[in-house]
Amino acid sequence: MSRIDANTGSAPARLGQFLRVGLSRIGYETRIYFRSADSIFFTFLFPFIMLVIFTAAFEARGKIGAAPDGTGGISVGAYYLPGMLAAGMLLSGVQNLAVDIAGEKSDGTLKRLGGTPLSPLSYFIGKIGQVLVTGIVQAALLILVAHSILGIALPDEAGKWLTFAWVFLFGVITSAFLGISLSALPRSGRSATAVVIPVVLVLQFISGVYLEFYKLPEWMQTAASVFPLKWMAQGLRGVFLPENFVNLEQNGSWDFQLVALNLAIWLLVGLGVSRLTFRWIRKNT
């Protein structure tokens, strides 16, 4: 028997069992994600749709960031790509998990799981892993479509891709924990989308996903700076936009240290709130 008995085994054996079950849950959760029309359309494909719409709608405005004589600058699609990637990170984590877990709470899935020897740790590994897998596939396809169909140039330095890797992973994992935290808010699965989508939508508008961040009023930029989406978008602009675009940023810098700091703070907040609020069921109600 290769199966380890988690219930009588030593601490490392138990941890191994939690990981093994967690990995099996990643596969299970990812399969369910890709079978749900809601998650395919509103989470997975949404950034693609928005990128195509923005590119088509604003093509006529010419290049963004061009000099007065019309030289330089980049296409609308190229400018919006980092924002859409950041939106994908937010949707895959926050929106996807908040709606998903609130639904599992109200349809009895969590109650059923709470009656099995599934450890909450394995459950969380499954959720975070699902967000990572779907988020990575989404980002890879988005970059592929942007490059091969919309003809958007991609960075050619290894350093930029390294920055992309840490901003992306850090951001997606933070988003996932914030999604788990936010899932405690809706009172029912049916109200989940009504609670979660406005939050996510407002953040996208003020954080430089749909509107050029440098054109927003300063108070709005300051407000957005509290939340992680602004920093994810900024970090990704630092990867995908030409170096001279740095002058359009608030401090004239990509501020990668602040990106890391803000994401770290929100990751801790998300971890703490998830730990404090997550229950298989609300007892005694």
């Binding site: 988690a6 849950r25 399969r31 349809d107 020897p117 069921i281």
Partner: protein, 305 residues
């Protein structure tokens, strides 16, 4: 004789929600390997009691041991020895029956074989069908399958056969008998009294948060409630009823007296359902209404000849 400790031990269990007392001090044991049926009307406190035993709710007072463990402190090792079929059907519709059972089997240290469980609940032809595409009764069978996949020592069945057609119900009974033969302890709640009679070793009847009777299925309600009832139409065409411990002798006497075959003759042995209704309605202050109740009460109501 009793070498193993009881599977469930409940002493003076109380549960209040605010000012409402859902359970007002109930006590019972379920011996290892026994099937215990907890009966009672909706709102009597059955689900509250079963959810306290499953660890889903905290009790207000009293003592509870489930497989020797206080459910409020039950860890994963304890949960791996339980099987729970909840009253409401879960969702997770976007996976197939086989996928769902394979996944849940992986959560337990010594699961049953997935194919074996699918066969046991009669879903072989639906093994590769998504759960969302199944009928209500078929989904209920998936619930039962998920309850037994972990090879539980103690199985909670909370109204397991709701939505089953008669054939599925009999198939389910066979499954439960196989589990009983393997030594599984079972706590069953059901509104089908024939099911409780078929499967249960003992039953407890709960009403308004109190256990109003407990005993072997064949003895619950007391001997009086089981006295057979003879019913016939006499020569003048009026119906007559009489309770008798010797119904055959009574019928013979009837024939001897009238010299003819009595019409519409019935000898009725009160079913568990009659006895149960008598218990539940008798424990209320309201007036006794149905004939079944009058019969089950065995208190010789005036209508009897």
């Amino acid at each position: 004789m009793k070498l193993s400790p009881p599977a469930v031990r409940v002493r003076d269990l109380h549960k209040s929600y605010g000012n409402f007392e859902a359970l007002r001090g109930i006590s019972f044991d379920i011996e290892a390997g026994e099937t215990f049926a907890l009966l009672g009307p909706n709102g009597a406190g059955k689900s509250t009691a079963i959810e306290i035993l499953e660890g889903y709710r905290d009790r207000t007072a009293g003592e509870v041991r489930v497989l020797g463990v206080d459910p409020q402190r039950g860890g994963l090792a304890w949960k791996s020895r339980l099987g729970i079929v909840l009253q409401s059907t879960g969702e997770s519709g976007n996976v197939t029956v086989t996928e769902q059972l394979t996944h849940f089997a992986g959560l337990y240290p010594r699961p049953r074989r997935v194919a074996e469980v699918i066969e046991a609940v009669g879903l072989e032809s639906k093994a590769k069908t998504r759960i969302s595409k199944l009928s209500g009764g078929q989904r209920r069978r998936v619930d039962v399958a998920l309850g037994i996949i972990g090879r539980p020592e103690l199985l909670f069945l909370d109204e397991p056969t709701t939505g089953f057609d008669p054939e599925a119900r009999h198939q389910f009974w066979d499954l439960v008998r196989r589990l009983q033969a393997e030594g599984t302890s079972i706590l069953l709640t059901t509104h089908y009294l024939d099911e409780a009679a078929q499967l249960g070793d003992r039953a407890g009847v709960i009403n308004d948060g109190l256990l109003i009777d407990i005993g072997a299925i064949g003895e619950i309600g007391g001997a009086d409630a089981r006295v057979p009832l003879v019913r016939w139409r006499d020569a003048s065409g009026t119906f007559q009823e009489q309770r008798s411990d010797e119904p055959a002798r009574l019928v013979a006497a009837l024939v001897a007296a009238s010299g003819a075959e009595p019409t519409v003759l019935e000898v009725i042995r009160p079913s568990l359902e009659d006895i149960y209704l008598g218990l539940v309605q008798g424990s209320r202050s309201g007036p006794v209404t149905s004939v079944a109740t009058a019969a089950a009460l065995g208190k010789d109501p005036g209508v009897l000849a």
